[in-house]
């Protein structure tokens, strides 16, 4: 049963998290754990690549909400990249584009951190 998968790649000081499958109340704890691990390691320049995320509910959105304040207070950020139209629509309904930086590609998102 791998309807949801979280992977991670570190690119210099930036960590990229790849979410695959569906992010709902069942799978949100896995994503939460992945973010918590990054925070614990003090790797807080984060890009979440959503190219292969097929579904998100408020339980998944809540994970982003739960971490962003702490991470920004520490000088880091969570930037989002490569959203499908379906997933973007849900983010948009809740006003997330105002709160999070959403980039077309992972490369663009990583570059944002290099800009300073």
């Amino acid at each position: 049963m791998s309807a949801f998968e979280v992977r991670r790649k570190d690119v210099d000081s930036v960590s990229v998290i790849y979410l695959e499958g569906y992010l709902d109340a069942h799978t949100a704890p896995d994503f939460e754990q992945a973010l918590q691990t990054l925070v614990d390691e003090d790797r807080i320049r984060i890009v979440v690549n959503l190219a292969h995320l097929t579904y998100i509910s408020s339980a998944g959105l809540g994970v982003f909400m739960g971490f962003i304040e702490d991470i920004r207070n520490k000088g880091g950020d969570i930037k989002l990249a490569e959203l499908t139209e379906k997933v973007y629509r849900v983010f948009d309904l809740l006003g997330f584009p105002v709160l999070y930086e959403i980039l077309d590609t992972e490369t663009d998102a990583i570059a944002k951190y290099e800009e300073g």
């Binding site: 309807a3 569906y22 709902d24 109340a25 069942h26 097929t54 579904y55 509910s57 408020s58 339980a59 959105l61 809540g62 909400m65 739960g66 962003i68 304040e69 499908t84 139209e85 379906k86 629509r89 849900v90 309904l93 809740l94 006003g95 997330f96 105002v98 709160l99």
Partner: protein, 157 residues
């Protein structure tokens, strides 16, 4: 088809791992009825949010059963989610001010907002100690005015 009513039912334990099955159930019926992909996605998410509320709030302390009924007539696609857990302060959460919500970075409570945004009608009835019921409606008639949108294969995932 007239006013004939077709009903589909699912009786399922309140476990988060069952949400995928619940979504597949409702999207299957919605597709059969002829909704386009965009509406199917909305219906699927709205039902997920209602059931997530039941799992995380109504049956917070102990697992129970969720009853899901889909009622379809020529005008309406109605979802009824019933549980026998604790009541939910649904009214108090009526359409939160999203700007304020985002500003305060509040976690949770987003589900109610989504349900009301995604569906045409949302009602909550509670008989404390007996049952709670969320009823959500998506109108079917609109599809006729969207130039065959119901069968639009070009819809992006």
């Amino acid at each position: 088809m007239g006013a004939q009513l077709t009903e589909y039912k699912l009786h399922i334990p309140s476990r988060a791992e069952n949400l995928e099955l619940i979504r597949n159930f409702v999207s299957g019926v919605a597709r059969k009825v002829g909704f386009n992909t965009e509406d199917i996605n909305k219906i699927e998410l709205a039902l997920d949010e209602a059931c997530t509320n039941v799992i995380e709030h109504a049956y917070r302390d102990s697992e129970g059963d969720i009853d899901i009924a889909i009622k379809v007539d020529y005008q309406k696609f109605t979802l009824v989610v019933t549980d026998k857990g604790r009541s939910f302060p649904f009214k108090e959460l009526e359409m939160p001010d999203m700007k304020q919500y985002i500003a305060e970075l509040r976690v949770g409570g987003l589900g109610i907002y989504l349900m009301k945004t995604l569906m045409d009608e949302v009602e909550y009835h509670s008989q404390p100690g007996v049952k709670n019921e969320v009823q959500m409606v998506k109108y079917l008639l609109q599809k006729d005015t969207k130039q065959g949108a119901a069968a639009n294969p070009a819809e992006k995932k």
